[in-house]
Amino acid sequence: MTTSAAELLAVMASRQLRDDTTVFAGVGVPLLAAALAQQRHAPRLTMVIEGGIIGPRIKPGRLPISTNEMRAGHRAQMLPGITDTFLFAQRGFLDYGFMGGAQIDQHGNVNTSVLGSDYWKPKVRLPGTGGANDIASLCREVIIVTAHEKRRFVPKVDFVTSPAWLEGGDARRRAGLFFGGVSRVVTTLGVFGFDPESRRMRIEALHPGVTRAQVQEHTGFPLLDGPHVSETAPPEADELEMLRALDPERRFLG
């Protein structure tokens, strides 16, 4: 069986998570990636889900569709209210924020609100932030997990739903965001970071078989090169096995 795009994303994203940490995970691929990390290399990782869930054990075959239904809280350790769950992040207890995004720009800002230039007269109304803005504002570091498509990777997002580095440089701190920021963007083509000065997106690693020209071709702005652009190791058999066991219906794995 060949590796699907979602499987590649989940495996690569899971490798970003260290043990003895906490992760605020969105449903879908981010949650699968966190569950995989917990099973494989980070047993002391705690997952937090915005519906008000701390420390769930995802039930294979009963993956949650939303962040606040019974499936999401299966065998959880605590169910605080939603506001209090986010306040753990504001206090600084959440190491990682793990999220997707409809539109992302060269400074890592994400738009999940509206397409078009006028918020009140949108060309396309998207579902909205949910907790993504809060995760992007409050976690120690944010990892964005997304398919790599030119229409998603734009020079400037139409609307900043979830702020990363804003206009780059020290714009984030000047805007009043004291902590955090996007550290990594994990895509179907590679792993990306940000130049520490300009805060422009740069290539950290490419997935096996992906060329620099290819990744640039699928990106709507010029990518910088990181200091040591490497090649990611392909998904291991046990990673794929564990992942597929979590989603036997392939609801999110495609």
């Binding site: 869930i53 605080p80 209210g81 986010f86 009140w120 909205g128 932030t129 702020p163």
Partner: protein, 323 residues
Amino acid sequence: MGDPDLRPAEWDFVAARRRLESKPKSAGDKLTSVEDAVARVADGDRIAVGGCLFSRTPMALVREILRQRRTGLTLIRNLMCTEGEFMMAAGAVERVMTAWMSIGLPWGVSKIMRHYVESGAVALEEWSHLALGLRFRAAAMGVPFLPTLTMVGSDLVGVGGMKTVADPYTGESLGAVPALFPDVAVVHVHRADRFGNGQIDGYPHMDADITRAAATVLVTTEEIISDDETRRHPDRTVIPGFVVDALVHVPFGSYPHECYGLYEADYGHFADYTAAIDAQGPPAVADYLKRYVYGPTTYDDYLELFGGERLAAQQKLARELTG
């Protein structure tokens, strides 16, 4: 983007406090019918809806608000689901305040939301999930705003008009989310005694805060318990009776949305509903409302449309997850 449409009544803590002081806060019997409970809702009210997305939605109250044909409402819910679509399609709402609206990933972006918001028929005022929670929390605390580190620097600031406040101790600038005092809160709980002392299992969501923030509180409950039962486990009470204006006994009161530990959301029903919308667009919701809202006179008649077998199956699925 234009200037936000600021509405000071949302955070007028003095007026909200006076309103609360002027109403009875009775420890008496609150049990009534859903029709009588919803008679307390006026056209143009700001209504906060308990639960979250398709979890513990007060569906019986939502249904009755539609049946009584209220209009000009502002619907407020942290994550909005089918109940928001019903209100839009029925012409009941002119504004919704939320952090996110659709049903869930498998069904894509809500076509109903897109239709009503993109055409300008309904204004969708977006706040971050925590910011909306803190707006309710500030109101529940009786204060006009709360300082926060969230939502600052994003374009959401310009949508709802969040201001900043200088910390009097460090001098740092912080976000200041305004309180949000709804006219009415509608919530569904697992059990309550007839005085309205309510208990919730599983996810608390934002229900405790919205019942303290609102001027009028309407509650439906899966089960009515005795006064003795409340007093045996007072630690389980999350809504005290004196905040409740009306209580209605409605088993399966969230269906087809879930109620933690009791029944799982009916995903098959969502799939049929969204398939009809995919095929016919917004008129599919009008048809749905005819069949599920305006048609059946009683809630039991409504539940009959799903059938006992289906309800029992959803109960079994819930036990598998939480048992």
